[in-house]
Amino acid sequence: MASLDDLKKRISSVKSTQKITKAMKMVAAAKLRRAQESAEKGRPYSDKMNNIILNLSNGISDIDNAPKLLSGTGEDKVHLCVVMTSDRGLCGGFNTNIIKKAKLYFQKILDEGKTLKIITVGTKGYDQLKRLYGDNIIERISFKESKNVNYFDADKVGKIVIEKFDKKEFDVCAIFYNQFKNVITQIPQEQQIIPLKTSEKEENSSEDNYEFEPEEDEILSNLLPKNISTQIFKAMLENSASEQGSRMSAMDNATRNAGEMVDKLTIEYNRSRQAAITKELIEIISGAESL
């Protein structure tokens, strides 16, 4: 059995770990509130953008002449995956979940004999992917310096994606991120952004006769790149809320576990202290008896 001194040291070290996890939980909770707010505030923009694009793509008469960003290159050979993760660790299964989802997709792509290219956003994703897919990673981006998620960071990623698309470096682009549901649940998402999937096409196909200025095609070709940045921005907002939520619950668990550990160690400490005392008493008594 460990000596009393050792136990004492362990108790105090677990206690200080608990202090750290508790503080991290509080910080995450405060940040979560802000991240959640901005995720909610950001929704109208991306929703409206989606709506307009829907209306526009319905209005397009000649599908063959539609911008490539909408209809795709007509091929399906090279897939670009943008994997969005966090820059910091200690947030539970947050990054692992995204990576797991992404790896499934990667495997599918590779099994089908297609080419895979990866862009990682956030350092944690790169760390986890570099061993298996190091050769596939063509770009790694990190926004460690920016404190809050902002649109211009998202725009940077969007511009890189579009630039690569214009150079015909890939055919299909998908983004991976965690959708924030609540503090406990974050759902890893895979979203295809190029070519754009308009799933709700039918229900919204009312006879809205819009006046366009300039022409539909021109608006679309200007709007689609913006939409990509917007989708990425949305993903980043969801991601940052998820990260904080995930960190909060992870740290909450850690604090609780540390508490349990302290309790267990304290009992062990008390027991061995009592044992030592009893042993000494027995020694004294038997010593006295033998006289």
């Binding site: 109208p44 649109y151 819009y210 006046e211 366009f212 200025e213 608006i219």
Partner: protein, 130 residues
């Protein structure tokens, strides 16, 4: 019959402004300014850098926008923009900053005519504010 309608301006971060007593909005559309009154035909257009003017019962307001897209439908006007500033409480430094980066961009060799046109527009508007 009232002559007012609803306008909402959103940027990626938040819903910037929403008003339901607007009588006219003038936006810097790509092919020239458009004034939108109530019961305008449904329209989608995108914006070049310029000034949005909103006339409402409570007065007139002006905003600088970098770019954007507008949608007008059923007397709802939505303006989506990535950068918007209220001219009333504008920050001179911020304007100069945008102006500077636009100027730098303009000197790059690899921009096309459309970009050049937009940048010129931007600078012109920014100078007029400053």
């Amino acid at each position: 019959m009232s002559e007012e309608y609803f306008v909402e301006i959103v940027n990626p971060e938040k819903s910037f402004l929403s008003k339901n007593d607007v009588t006219e909005v003038v936006v810097p559309a790509f092919e020239g300014e458009i004034g939108i009154l109530k019961d305008h035909i449904s329209i989608i257009s995108f914006l070049k850098p310029g000034i949005i003017k909103i006339f409402s019962k409570s007065g007139e307001e002006s905003f600088y926008v970098n770019d954007g897209i507008i949608e007008f439908k059923d007397n709802n006007l939505s303006i989506l923009t990535s950068l918007i500033l209220n001219l009333k409480d504008i920050d001179k430094e911020k304007i100069s900053e945008i102006q500077k980066s636009a100027e730098e961009e303009l000197h790059k060799a690899d921009i096309n005519d459309q970009e050049r046109y937009l940048l010129d527009q931007k600078l012109e508007v920014l100078r007029s504010i400053n």
